[in-house]
Symmetry: C2
Subunit: 158 residues, 2 copies
């Protein structure tokens, strides 16, 4: 059940310090629940849904979770990942884990991270910038997702 492509992450202690700093920067408190949430996201190592989080930590409450995810997003600690289904998924911000893309399983809804080589990534970026420029579009980021069936669901389908 571990991610197929390990994506490097910031060390827990360092992440904790960054979280404290960024929350302070927007005048938000680093409460125990927010600490637990950051920790849960780090543990997950992939974009997780609200249900995943509620399931992983019984002390989480749905409404507070939503509220805290908004706060962490504002603090640029967390990003919301658009999934295939209608469930929001969240993961740590890109500067906290390496730049990567997503494998979206249309069968179970699970999302995993993957990386492409930095050469490929670089080529891609150049091509995207060219296209964006032609359209007069200012790029703030890109999303590259592979949609299909994960190894687990493929095995289960047999």
């Amino acid at each position: 059940m571990k991610p197929p492509n390990k994506v490097a992450t910031t060390a827990p202690a360092q992440l904790d310090a960054i979280a404290a700093e960024r929350l302070a920067a927007i005048e938000q408190r680093y409460t125990s629940q927010r600490r637990a949430l950051v920790n849960a996201l780090q543990q997950a190592g992939r974009p997780v849904s609200i249900a995943d989080l509620l399931d992983a930590n019984k002390s989480f409450v749905q409404s507070s979770l939503y509220r805290n995810l908004v706060v962490l997003e504002q603090a640029q600690l967390v990003i919301r990942v658009v999934a295939h289904d209608d469930f929001a998924h969240y993961e740590l911000g890109e500067e906290l884990i390496d730049h990567h893309h997503h494998l979206i399983c249309t069968t179970c809804g699970r999302i995993d991270d993957f990386e492409i080589s930095s050469d490929d990534e670089h080529e891609l970026l150049k091509a995207l910038q060219r296209s964006a420029k032609r359209a007069g579009f200012s790029v703030s980021g890109h999303r590259l997702d592979l949609v299909g069936t994960c190894a687990t669901c493929k095995a289960a389908a047999v």
Copy 2:
């Protein structure tokens, strides 16, 4: 207000024939409303929301629109595009318009199509296949979106 990068599309008459055929294949009728819907999507030339469609054709009814979009999706005539906001967007299937990607404006929510060169696209595909294989993931498609600010919103922000 026209799309910044024109994406080639199937001719209207041909599209109509294909729609009739594909709907017949799944034993669905090609009713006048479904014809109007296919036409509206072709006219739009970009992924549009339910609100866009209701606005463009006053004879559309919300619930029927949702139902017919599901049917057209099953007929593989239409695909649902995941947006930045919480509104579903729909456009004609990829075989009916050239393979392309999306420019998602985070300010106004508008989505436009764009293409990258076939060379770049080819390189990208190869890189993606390599990564997917490593993860044991079966790829059925990919999504490449640029997120940022469209020309219109950029101009308005001044």
